[in-house]
């Protein structure tokens, strides 16, 4: 029995290696995800206290910890608490090293690339400045060979925010223990998405719905090149970190044994470099613009938080306008939005759990961009662009892998879907830029402590984008990644 288990483990490792060797292909934007060992060091917690085994996906406790401003409600929340973990260092880093391959095929021909390398680098610092004063900073340095050597990356302050917690106390409202009814976050941050992309275990596959833009081929969205497109001044995507302010809150609901959460954000995000209405051909005009957009998300869970235990439903949406006009008082300044160029997004999300090990979740979103956006770009007979996006993901995090009696495995499958109802440019087919994407991943938590994480990661993605090939054919892509994902 002893040797059979050893052989089985060796077999699994061999399969993963084989998976790497025989897979061909890929391209790809490698997604950045977050795991914060600094918290483990601060509280003397092992990583799976806050994460589903195989970080970075948060479990129920970790989600509550985040929603409550990175606080447990104990003295140790304060950064100057004398009993704080001696290993505490408030900065974490994360990257993935390994082998990535990609293949993109269209119109009967394809290109395959692959190589060893690393994804990129995240330097993260999250925590509290004091009781009920939270902060977060994510710095991604510019690298010459990021994305497994596929290109350089620009340095960026991907997130930087301060969060003021429990502001209801200034309104004379006394909240129950564990409730944080009114919190204000200001800066640049990830929106309160139905399911966080930054904390998704998928490393080289985006949530298509979060980044989809009518007129821009999906392949361009994930870092590839676009072979056909039409201009759309709306660059708002809920999956991108946005500068703005967010009001949010969480309340335990005794009637459901769950939690009610809400968030409402006012954002200023747009940047568009296409033609602007009112800009004469011989004039230098501003090429970017900013407008206030809004995003909101409410959820109600039952029998738990809804990620590891219980179930959860949610409703989310966004509304805004895209800048298309030259600023009449300052042509070289940022562009402004004319009237009648709104966009809207509306969706629902559901998360179901079973046995504390299975999590089936997904979201559906409807999007609409005003035809005036496309008219501003000189598209004749422009019409409103509308589309539906969705995804469904099944995660399995067994406490003990059946048959093999091994701990710390994580499996996931996700299907992403985009279906266009109407194109902004009527010369494009209705199904132009439709997307089908399948992702399968396996993670094995090689090591995790109260200091560090190391996971073996294998991920495969196959996608099809309709009608975006050079000759109007479909574009098919596959990506494969096998590597070590680590955080310190």
């Amino acid at each position: 029995m002893k040797y059979s288990i050893i052989h089985a483990r060796a077999g699994i490792a061999a399969l993963l290696v084989l998976f790497a060797m025989v897979s061909y292909e890929l391209s790809g934007l490698v997604q950045k995800a977050e795991a914060i060992p600094a918290f483990a060091r601060k509280y003397d917690f092992k990583c799976n206290v806050c994460h589903v085994p195989g970080f970075p996906k948060l479990n129920d406790f970790g989600n509550l910890f985040r929603d409550r401003g990175y606080q447990l409600g104990s003295d140790a929340d304060s950064p100057v608490y004398e009993g704080i973990g001696m290993g505490y260092w408030p900065v974490s880093l994360r990257t993935t090293v390994g082998y990535q391959a990609a293949n993109v095929r269209t119109d009967g021909s394809g290109v395959t690339t692959g190589g060893f390398g690393f994804t990129g680098l995240d330097l993260l610092s999250f925590g509290t400045l004091d009781r009920n004063l939270a902060f977060g900073v994510v710095f991604t340095p510019g690298l010459g060979s990021a994305g497994f050597g596929t290109g350089a990356s620009d340095g960026d302050l991907e997130a930087a925010f301060v969060r003021l917690m429990r502001l209801e106390r200034f309104l004379g409202v006394k909240s129950a223990s564990g409730d944080y009814l009114l919190n204000l976050k200001v800066g640049k941050f990830e929106l309160d998405l139905p399911f966080s992309e930054k904390r998704s275990p998928t490393l080289n596959t985006t949530f298509a719905m979060y980044h989809y833009l009518p007129g821009t081929p999906y392949t361009a969205t994930i870092g590839g090149t676009s072979t056909s497109s039409y201009l759309n001044p709306n660059t708002f995507a809920i999956g991108e970190n946005q500068p703005g302010a967010e009001l949010s809150g969480i309340k335990k609901t005794a009637g459901t044994d769950g939690y009610f959460r809400y968030s409402l954000s006012a954002l200023a995000t747009n940047s568009f470099s296409g033609p602007l209405s009112g800009c004469a051909s011989d004039t230098t005009c501003g090429t970017g613009g900013r407008n206030v957009n809004f995003y909101g998300h409410v959820t109600q869970s039952f029998g738990g938080y809804g990620i590891v235990t219980g179930q959860r439903i949610g409703l989310f949406g966004a509304y805004g306008t895209a800048p298309t006009l030259v600023n009449p008082t300052c042509p070289t300044c940022q562009a402004v939005a004319g009237s009648g160029q709104p966009f809207s997004r509306l969706g629902v999300d559901v998360s179901l759990t079973l046995n504390g090990e299975w999590n089936l979740f997904g979201a559906w979103m409807w999007g609409n961009d005003s035809k005036n956006m496309f008219l501003s770009q000189g598209i004749a007979d422009a019409q409103n662009a509308s589309w539906n996006g969705a995804f469904v993901e099944l995660d399995y995090a067994p406490a003990l892998l059946p048959f093999f009696e091994m701990t710390d495995w994580f499996f996931a499958y996700r299907y992403d879907l985009i279906r266009n109802n109407r194109q902004g440019d009527p010369t494009f087919a209705k199904n132009y830029n439709n997307v089908d994407s399948h992702t399968l991943l396996v993670r094995y938590f090689i090591h995790h402590s109260t200091r560090t994480d190391l996971a073996l990661h294998a991920e495969y993605n196959s996608y099809r984008t309709t009608g975006v090939g050079a000759n109007g054919g479909d574009l098919l892509g596959q990506t494969m990644l096998v590597g070590f994902d680590f955080a310190y």
């Binding site: 206290v49 973990g85 499958y413 089908d436």
Partner: protein
């Protein structure tokens, strides 16, 4: 055709799903609930290197004797910071009074029924004021006339119900990352005996061996004092004060418990 490509994915998921439906065998259990479990385990449930061991079971210790043994098990916190030197905290009892009473009763019953091939495993969860529950688990057995405690988890924070359930099923299922270590007292020693329960990145749990030369000594072992150290007493008083301030205990309960703690000085 597209569904065909995804077919094997669903097949794999279905296979794993069916596998998880494998029923767990029922084991004799004492005082089993969501806070505590004490059970006899057969050889097949022990770690591979332990399966050939012969224990001196059954054992007839009284509840009071078990409670004395349990009170004599001491631990101390230990930290290895990123920079600087490691340090150790104060020595303190592993089990609280409530845990000693509950475990003492269950261990007495379990050891009266255990055979020479069976060990007795335990898990206990301790609620903390705001944070996650702390789980302590391991196994007890008697070998070579001495009582052995193999501690797999010591006050490990557990939030995932699946992990907690797994520890309840198998208390020797070790979670890495403990910040406590056993502190042997008189007539106690630590031994590192590979159990086969570790792994490439998981050290084997250590065993605390308690010398039980004669029942009278077992009844009154010369272990570390059962009286809590000054620091642990201070912590208990602070916890008591917080409970009172939050209205979780009455004024009368607060004064009574405070008096009891102070009398133990």
């Amino acid at each position: 055709m597209r569904w065909g490509k995804a077919g094997w994915v669903w097949l794999c998921l279905l296979s794993v799903g069916c596998a998880t439906a494998t029923p767990q065998a029922e084991l004799p259990c004492f005082s089993c609930d969501d806070q505590r479990v004490v059970r006899i385990v057969p050889p097949a449930k022990l770690r591979s290197n332990d399966q050939g061991r012969r224990f001196q079971h059954p054992v007839n210790l009284t509840q009071a004797e078990w409670e004395t043994l349990l009170r004599g098990v001491m631990v101390r916190s230990t930290h290895s910071p990123l920079l600087g030197t490691s340090y150790q905290g104060a020595t303190e009892p592993l089990f609280l009074d409530e845990e000693v009473r509950a475990l003492g009763s269950s261990l007495r019953q379990a050891f009266q029924q255990a055979t020479e091939q069976e060990a007795v495993v335990f898990s206990t969860a301790r609620a903390t004021e705001e944070g996650p529950a702390q789980v302590t688990s391991g196994a007890w057995f008697v070998e070579d006339g001495r009582i052995h405690l193999r501690l797999a988890n010591c006050r490990v924070a557990v939030t995932m119900p699946s992990i907690r359930r797994q520890i309840w099923i198998d208390p020797l299922f070790s979670q890495a990352g403990t910040f406590y270590e056993l502190a042997p007292g008189n007539r106690q020693a630590l031994v590192s005996k590979p159990s086969g329960g570790g792994g490439l990145f998981r050290p084997d749990p250590v065993e605390l061996v308690i010398d039980q030369s004669g029942r009278s000594e077992a009844a009154a072992p010369e272990g570390p004092p059962a009286v809590p150290s000054a620091s642990s007493l201070e912590e208990r008083l602070a916890v008591l004060k917080r409970l009172h301030d939050r209205g979780l205990i009455t004024e009368e309960e607060y004064r009574l418990k405070k008096q009891q703690l102070l009398e133990r000085l």
